[in-house]
Subunit: 438 residues, 2 copies
């Protein structure tokens, strides 16, 4: 048996105490799997407390400063569970890597913003930088992309990677409730923060797809290039209309290789009912990949929570304990290609369009002609009288007009909708939601 692997843990929230739980509960198993003991030598957290989740911290050296722990001689691995894309998390990780300590982190924001640079720093210092826990909690997608799908040219990676949004959309659908109403419940249950904008606005999912894009396509991380739309404007009517047309609405994060570069986008998305991704409900996450040899793979599991996330943290630690050496992104970071952004106007796909039309002769003909002029063909239309529509306070003169287009280019769809909104046929702005096919 080799010498023990010594951990310094910075951050003792739910994931940090989850990590202490797994080390305590499954210590013997971990030693057997690693061929050596895994021990905590030092810890650091915002507030010192003698007791955390039943764990006494007395036997660990306490550090007030994460950077001091990161530089301490008596750790082999610095486990960063502080969070945030800069500040103490980033500073201490840089210190650890420069001190030739391995780093394991659950910090998606930091990896999304600084991943490429940190990977180069890790590799030039001959240490690992692992972030399995940063993406989709317990789902081991990082290892699967980096190792299991080595040899595949990945063409698309996608997923439902924000449990808050998926919970809200699922509840809206199943309980026929409004966004604001379900959001309030999610906040009461602890599934949503007091300021929910980070989740419902799509930023959290964008951090995750930024990390996956580098892994899947071998390119430098470019969070700034992601097209982001949140779910705040999705109404119960949209969900019901989509259902009637054979779709569910999910917040999807997608990265696709196109002829023009890589498209990275996070937005509410119609997915065909019956496709495996459409059946991912509630707080669950799922991540899928398409590759030229493996074809399609989808992984489903708990995307958050102290224990599932700690499961991913410990797997990274066991990798290090076993002596596994792997470039951070599968390829050496110096070989990552520059990211080339495919513009959203060149995006090709189907669209759900909803608008309120004035009920007068010639309106539908005008709409149909406008789409036809842009070479957009219509897959299906749903037009109902206001009485049967769920929209409240419907204006008697207005008729909701819902349609699904066949695949077209986003610039064409935007042009058609702009043209329509500039006439007096349509009240307010038409709404457009993208469709993803599987």
């Amino acid at each position: 048996m080799q010498t023990p692997l010594r951990l310094g843990i910075a951050g003792l929230g739910t994931v940090g105490t989850g990590l202490l739980d797994v080390l305590k509960q499954n210590g013997a198993l971990l030693s057997g799997q690693s061929g050596r003991d895994i021990v905590v030598t030092g810890v650091c957290a915002r507030t010192k407390s003698t007791e955390r989740g039943g764990h006494s911290l007395a036997e660990y050296r306490w550090f007030d400063d994460a950077g001091d722990l990161a530089a301490w001689d008596e750790i082999d691995v610095f486990v960063e569970l502080i969070g945030g894309d800069s500040g103490p998390a980033l500073d201490s990780v840089e210190t650890a890597l420069r001190s030739a300590k391995h780093v394991v982190t659950a910090n998606k924001a930091m990896i999304a913003h600084h991943g490429t640079r940190l990977a180069k720093l890790a590799e030039s210092n001959g240490v690992s930088l692992q972030f399995e826990a940063a993406i989709a909690g317990g789902i081991p997608i990082v290892k699967v992309v980096r190792e299991s799908l080595a040899g595949n040219n990945i063409t698309r990676v996608y997923g439902i990677m924000n449990g808050t949004c998926n919970y809200i959309l699922t509840e809206m659908d199943k309980e026929r409730r409004d966004f604001a109403d379900v959001l309030a419940t999610a906040q009461e249950l602890g599934y949503a923060e007091t300021d929910p904008s980070f989740d419902v606005g799509g930023i959290d999912a964008a951090h995750k797809i930024a990390c996956l894009t580098s892994l899947a396509f071998g390119v430098e991380t470019s969070f700034e290039s992601i097209f982001i739309e949140g779910i705040e404007d999705i109404t119960l009517s949209d969900i019901q209309n989509a259902a009637e047309l054979g779709y569910k609405i999910k917040l999807m994060a997608v990265a696709v290789q196109t002829d023009e570069g890589i498209e990275q986008r996070v937005h509410p998305t119609l997915v065909p009912k019956g496709s495996p991704i459409a059946e991912v409900d509630g707080v669950f996450n799922a991540v899928g990949l398409s590759g030229d040899f493996v074809h399609d793979i989808l992984m489903h599991g708990k995307g958050a929570g102290g224990h599932p996330t700690a499961s991913s943290v410990i797997s990274d630690i066991v990798d290090i304990a076993r002596g596994s050496k792997m470039p951070v992104y599968g390829l050496p970071a110096t070989q990552l290609k520059p990211y080339t952004r495919a513009p959203m106007r060149a995006h090709e796909g189907g669209y759900y369009v909803a608008m309120d039309l004035y009920d007068k002769p010639g309106t539908v003909a005008f709409i149909a002609q406008t789409f036809s002029d842009e070479n957009i063909s219509i897959e299906s239309i749903l037009q109902r009288s206001p009485a049967t529509n769920a929209i409240e306070e419907a204006n008697d003169e207005l008729k909701p007009f819902i349609m699904i287009s066949h695949d077209t280019m986003e610039s064409r769809m935007r042009a058609a909708l702009t043209k329509i909104s500039e006439t007096d046929h349509c009240a307010g702005q038409p709404k457009m939601i993208r469709i993803e096919r599987f």
Copy 2:
């Protein structure tokens, strides 16, 4: 860049030519990921042919005998794609391991029967034995269990791991066709062999669960201990009855840790509609795991086919090229615990029961009393007059009686059904199908 990794490939069927495809098509990617080139130096197959799937074999050294290739000095990795649990496959793999060559194999039968012994041989010779491709084609379940779920005590591993059976059951359900009819179509389409017993009898799925049991629970492989029932006796009526009661019927392979040991079983299984596993249709596979920290994970993908399976073979090869060293089953093979079999009579779960009862006073009362005597409680009953039942040639006097039990012990259910079959209330033998809950 290190020296190239040299492969000797034995077996050039669909997976072998798939492997040549990926090496040719994605060679540059593989070199970047591995830090070295991956080259084929020798090949061996049943019949020599100058051309295979567009690949010329002229540049490789040809071997008539797999054992000679396995022992050849100019290979680093022996890739065994011959198949079969003994004979040339086993002999050549043993030769390769003794000659300190790494082995990559897609051979589930060999690993199911000889896995523990071969793992010890590999580890004592300081080489890898990898078999990602042996289980569920392109789904990277071996690496996920061995590495991503390190640190978890696994409590259950399960899956739909035979595409032939899943295709047949899906078609029976969707097209309302009989088993024999769909089997014939499957044979025409190449989804089923001329002699389909290996697939429909559950042996193939049993090979896969035997391998997963060792990985998940750290025990020696014990194929002989698996309880196996095939799908040959599943009727369209069973599928329709199950649907009416809220279930789908799938051929599941399951291994569970119980107080009495490990239960390994392959049998037709009712799974609740709406659970992710129930939505796995057609030739797709899915494998799921429950662990004490990760909770539940399910992976969905192509379970067969030359390219998806080659994707798994190449990931094992890249692992070796990258210098990854890992015990075959996560724990050193000498530390695997002996397998302790939990007897099927101690199995606890729900049951679907179908029988034809003679339509006379006292029959249902007798049935209900018999279950009650065995402490079995009934979740739901479906009793229809023969006219509305799909069974053809129904005897006028017979009434189909279908029921779902709450969880009970298998010995109790068997006792109740034996008692019932020994009376004159029931025509023929009652049928029982196990239920798996998620």
